[in-house]
C-alpha cells in the first residue's frame, strides 16, 4: 500500500480517525476497485449509518440509504461487498456477538 496506515490482521482500518477520502481511494485500489460516484454514494451511506448507530450496517440498510439496489452494489464491489465496503469506508467489519 502506498499510504502508511495501520490495519488489523484482516485488513480493516485499526483507527477510524485515520480515514480520509484519499486513503479510501488508495485502499480501494489495493482491493481492485476504482471508486466512482456510485461507489461513493454507497460508501457515504455506510459511513453515515455506522456513525449514527454504532454498528456496521448490513447490505439491505446500505441499499436503502444509498438508493442503490443490492444487485448494483454487487456490481460496484464484486468480490464480497459487505467486507469491501467496510474496509474502504474505514468502519469495523460487520459481526455478531460471538
Amino acid at each position: 500500500m502506498s499510504v502508511a496506515v495501520q490495519t488489523d490482521a484482516e485488513g480493516y482500518l485499526s483507527n477510524k480517525d485515520d480515514w480520509s477520502e484519499e486513503l479510501a481511494n488508495e485502499l480501494a485500489k489495493d482491493l481492485g476497485v476504482e471508486l466512482g460516484d456510485a461507489h461513493w454514494q454507497v460508501l457515504n451511506a455506510a459511513r453515515a449509518i455506522e456513525s449514527e448507530s454504532g454498528s456496521s450496517p448490513g447490505l439491505r440498510k446500505i441499499s436503502k440509504r444509498s438508493e442503490t439496489p443490492i444487485k448494483a452494489i454487487y456490481k460496484l464491489f464484486p468480490d464480497g461487498p459487505a467486507k469491501l465496503i467496510a474496509k474502504i469506508a474505514g468502519i469495523p467489519k460487520p459481526k455478531s456477538c460471538l
Partner: protein, 417 residues
C-alpha cells in the same frame, strides 16, 4: 393524572410497566398498548422444534402477565405525534402521554425475500422465530429422514443472534439421537464472514462446528428462495441446495415505525446508546428489540435496560438530567447440544470472555465454556422469566457489566479487541 405510555407488551414493555407501577404514585397512570392477547416466552421457541418444549409452557394470556394498576389498550398503534404528545390507535381516541416508551420489538419478515413465501413455505421452508413456525418445524423434523438441512441467517440484525447456531447444534444432537445424523448434511449459511466473527470466539469455539461436522457457507447474501428447485440463490449467484431449509428471515421494526420519521431504513428507532432516549424528540425513550443499538436484541438486554431506564425516567420526572448508564450489557446462554450450554456476558466495549459468573473464582457458571450447569440454568430461566423478569421483581445480576471474574488477557491473546 399523568401518563407513562408504553408501546408493546413484550419482554421489555411488560417489565417496564411493572417497574414504573412500583416506582410511581397513583398520580401516574401506567399504560401499555398491544393488540396481541398472548405473551410468548421466546427462548422456548428454540426447543419447541425438537419436542423439548411445549406450547403450554411458553405461552400465557397477556392479561395474566400484566399486574394490577396497569392499563392495557388492546389495540394497534397507528402513528406517534411527538409534537402533540399523542399516539393514534386503530380503535379508540388518541392516547396522550407525558412520557412515551417504545418497546414494540421487531418483526420477522419472510415477505422481504423473493420466493420465500411461495409453495415451499412451511412445507420445506421453515422459520422458528414465530410460534407457528416453530410448531410446523417440529412436525417437519419428526418426518425428516435425512438429506441437506440448511440453517440460513438472511440478514443481520436478528433477535437473539446466537439462536441460529444453537439451533444447528441442537439439530446435530437431535439427528444423532434419531440415528439419521450420518444421512444428513448439516449446513450453516451466514451473510457474515464466519459462523464465529470474533477472534476469541472463533479460536475457542471453532471446535464446535468441526466436532459436529457442520459445513459453513459464508458471505451468503440470500436474494431468493426457489422452492421448486429447493435452492437458496444469493446475489452473487451462488446456489445452496436444501431438502429442509430453516431460515431466519430479515427483521424490521414494526409497521408504524417503518413509515415514521422515528424509524430508520429498517424501522428501528435511532436511540441514544447510554440514556435510551430517542434521538431528536423529547420525553420519548426506546428499549428492547425496537432500538437501532448495537447491543444484542435479547431478553437480558431488555431487562437491564428496564432497570436503568426506570431510574432515568424518575430523574426526568424530577427535572434532573438523564444519566448515561446503559453499557450494552448482555447475558446469554448458548445451547451447544447433548445437555450442555455456554454462558456469555458482554457489553458494547467488551466481547464475551472466559471466566466465572456471577461470582469471580467461584461461579458457579463458567463463561464461554460448555457445561451441564449452564444448560440447567438456561432451562431454569423460564421460571425466572415468568416470575421475576416480567413482573420486574429483583434479579441479583447487575444491569451494567462487571469485569470481575473475567480473563481480560484472553481477547488480546486471540488478536481481538
Amino acid at each position: 393524572m399523568k401518563t407513562i405510555l408504553i408501546l408493546g407488551a413484550g419482554t421489555a414493555g411488560t417489565a417496564m410497566a411493572h417497574k414504573m407501577r412500583r416506582r410511581l404514585s397513583s398520580d401516574w397512570e401506567v399504560a401499555v398498548v398491544d393488540p396481541s392477547t398472548t405473551h410468548i416466552y421466546q427462548p422456548g421457541l428454540l426447543f419447541l422444534p425438537f419436542g423439548d418444549e411445549t406450547e403450554a409452557r411458553i405461552v400465557r394470556e397477556r392479561g395474566a402477565t400484566l399486574g394490577k394498576g396497569i392499563t392495557w389498550h388492546k389495540t394497534e398503534v397507528k402513528a406517534i405525534d411527538t409534537e402533540r404528545r399523542v399516539v393514534e390507535v386503530a380503535e379508540g381516541n388518541p392516547l396522550a402521554y407525558d412520557f412515551l416508551i417504545i418497546a414494540s420489538g421487531t418483526e420477522v419478515r419472510p415477505d422481504m425475500i423473493e420466493g420465500m413465501l411461495d409453495g415451499g413455505w412451511r412445507k420445506s421452508v421453515f422459520d422458528f422465530y414465530t410460534l407457528e413456525g416453530a410448531k410446523a418445524l417440529q412436525g417437519a423434523l419428526a418426518r425428516y429422514e435425512g438429506g441437506r438441512l440448511v440453517i440460513n441467517v438472511v440478514e443481520m440484525p436478528i433477535k437473539c443472534p446466537v439462536a441460529p447456531l444453537e439451533f444447528t447444534f441442537l439439530a446435530d444432537a437431535y439427528l444423532t439421537k434419531r440415528g439419521i445424523r450420518d444421512k444428513t448434511e448439516l449446513v450453516y449459511a451466514t451473510p457474515l464472514d464466519a459462523a464465529f466473527t470474533k477472534p476469541l470466539a472463533s479460536q475457542t469455539l471453532g471446535y464446535l462446528l468441526e466436532d459436529k461436522g457442520v459445513q459453513v457457507e459464508t458471505e451468503l447474501m440470500t436474494g431468493e428462495v426457489d422452492s421448486e428447485k429447493n435452492v437458496i440463490r444469493s446475489y452473487d449467484e451462488r446456489e445452496v441446495p436444501y431438502d429442509l431449509l430453516v431460515t431466519i428471515p430479515p427483521h424490521t421494526g414494526v409497521g408504524f415505525l417503518e413509515d415514521s420519521p422515528l424509524g430508520d431504513e429498517l424501522g428501528f428507532v435511532p436511540t441514544d446508546p447510554h440514556t435510551l432516549a430517542v434521538k431528536g424528540v423529547d420525553n420519548v425513550f426506546c428499549i428492547g428489540d425496537a432500538t437501532d443499538l448495537p447491543s444484542s436484541k435479547a431478553g437480558s438486554v431488555a431487562h437491564f435496560q428496564v432497570d436503568l431506564l426506570s431510574e432515568n425516567i424518575l430523574r426526568a420526572i424530577d427535572g434532573k438530567e438523564l444519566e448515561p448508564t446503559f453499557d450494552g450489557h448482555s447475558n446469554c446462554f448458548v445451547e451447544t447440544g447433548h445437555g450442555k450450554a455456554m454462558l456469555i456476558d458482554f457489553n458494547y466495549e467488551t466481547e464475551p470472555l472466559p471466566g466465572q459468573f456471577p461470582i469471580p473464582g467461584l461461579g458457579p457458571l463458567p463463561l464461554l465454556k460448555e457445561a451441564r450447569r449452564n444448560h440447567w440454568a438456561k432451562l431454569a430461566f423460564r421460571w425466572v422469566y415468568w416470575n421475576a423478569l416480567l413482573p420486574a421483581r429483583p434479579i441479583p445480576i447487575s444491569p451494567t457489566m462487571s469485569l470481575a471474574g473475567k480473563q481480560l488477557s484472553a481477547a488480546a491473546e486471540a488478536g481481538g479487541s
